[in-house]
Symmetry: C2
Subunit: 242 residues, 2 copies
DNA sequence: TCTCATTCTTGGTCCGTACCAATATTCAGA
DNA sequence: TCTGAATATTGGTACGGACCAAGAATGAGA
């Protein structure tokens, strides 16, 4: 018996980060935070811990630092990088009620690109899952997911109308942590348009995603077709040094 | 006279990062790196410095760490987050030769959304720059950029067929560091299609970008219409903790 | 041979100190 | 009053030490 029981001890720098984020919210942009040495004294921690907390805030885009001058509240806390989320989480974030109609749920042989991207042999099988995802009752996107059957035995016995990621986590301990995405635009064909409830010839966003676990092992290959009139992708990018 | 003369002293952790990245390239995925204490001894630095270097590599997706086990080479070094780049840099990265046809370059009054997003008053003026960008001689996208005229006096006197970001940097000391982007799909109208050299009714990617400098002050508002048959957007996303 | 508790290894957190580099401030001199 | 050098402040880098927590390896016992 292996108890996970993650004690979830919260480190000091994380506690400090939250407190600072809370303080920041009632500060105007470009206003200076206390100096690092100040914060260390005030919160009874070392300067290293303060820097650790601030680094997280800088990464999140909440503050910016200027050497010799100080640390300041950033202009726009709104800016958030896209994170790897399930459709269910994504819709919740947009304030929409998610729904699902399962169109296909079966086991097939791995072939071609799918086989290659999931690093499977030609003998291996994959779970195929085609679902029409709804937002506030109306079609939002058409999702086709492939997963290595060996890693998710009995997946199709579970309820597939909810969050796939939730099932992967609770039933199999699989947590996708990173994903490569390719975003394209295309014009919908007749059948896809019909399923999505829009006229043929309408535009759509196609997102191809290959999600992997912490080890870098592929766990999910999904292609999603979003209605262009209902969906967009927002993210913040930064200039790369070097 | 204020000499910038950035001595560009390279910190130890940065030197170490480069050396490690070099070593990693000849290692297979999932192979372990030496332990942090090992690396510290071997390179005659403190463990803190080693961790600083490794953190950068983790952030770049080159390695991953497992507490209690070690640090390992990540599976796919290819995966790179999209970074804020100019069209010129973007095309260079894809191995294409960039070109430009300037369609409009003028000074107009700020109005509506542009005015609001660039945080300008209704009296202020903006530089408008509409350019057809080519890749290997063929149209790739249609770019419409707006910049606060006050921050870039005499911009239109410069050559606008090259990289705008390069001019901003060298002539005005402006370096956009972060940008919020919104990506949508749409069907091209007749005039845009004609400019891009594709049949009307074709799909396109529309990217709206608001770029800001380090202070969080907006410096550039651009809408770009990409040919869907020649362009896609690739990026890596990670699961957000908390 | 297998299981499970123990021990070891490894990354994660935290402290205190010291000095460097860029910016802001002060103040003497023109 | 203004200019420019000297000084103080602030974030950036670096060290060394200590202990914690999670995974890996070991070894005793069933």
């Amino acid at each position: 018996m292996r108890m996970v029981m993650t004690g979830h001890r919260v480190p000091k720098y994380e506690q400090l980060r939250r407190r600072l984020l809370h303080d920041i919210e009632r500060l105007a942009p470009h206003q200076p935070l206390p100096t690092e040495r100040d914060l260390a004294l005030r919160h009874r921690v070392s300067r290293a811990t303060v820097r650790h907390a601030l680094e997280a805030l800088v990464k999140a885009g909440a503050v910016y630092r200027v050497q010799g001058a100080g640390t300041f509240v950033a202009d726009q806390i709104i800016s958030k990088s896209v994170s790897l989320t399930s459709f269910t989480e994504d819709m919740a974030g947009r304030g929409l009620r998610p729904g699902t109609r399962v169109l296909v749920a079966d086991l097939i042989g791995a072939r071609g690109r799918i086989c290659q991207e999931l690093r499977l042999g030609s003998e291996d099988e994959v779970v195929r899952l085609v679902r029409l995802r709804l937002a506030d009752e109306a079609p939002m996107c058409l999702e086709t997911a492939y997963l290595p059957a060996a890693r998710v035995p009995g997946l199709l016995d579970h309820d597939m109308t909810g969050s796939l990621y939730s099932v992967l986590d609770t039933k199999y301990g699989i947590i996708p942590v990173v994903a490569d995405q390719v975003v394209e635009a295309l014009v919908l064909g007749d059948s896809d348009a019909a399923l999505l409830g829009v006229p043929p010839g309408t535009a759509a966003l196609r997102v191809r995603r290959l999600a992997t676990d912490q080890r870098g092992v592929p766990v999910e290959r999904t292609t999603t077709l979003y209605r262009a009139d209902r969906y967009d992708i927002r993210f913040t990018i930064a200039r790369q040094r070097c």
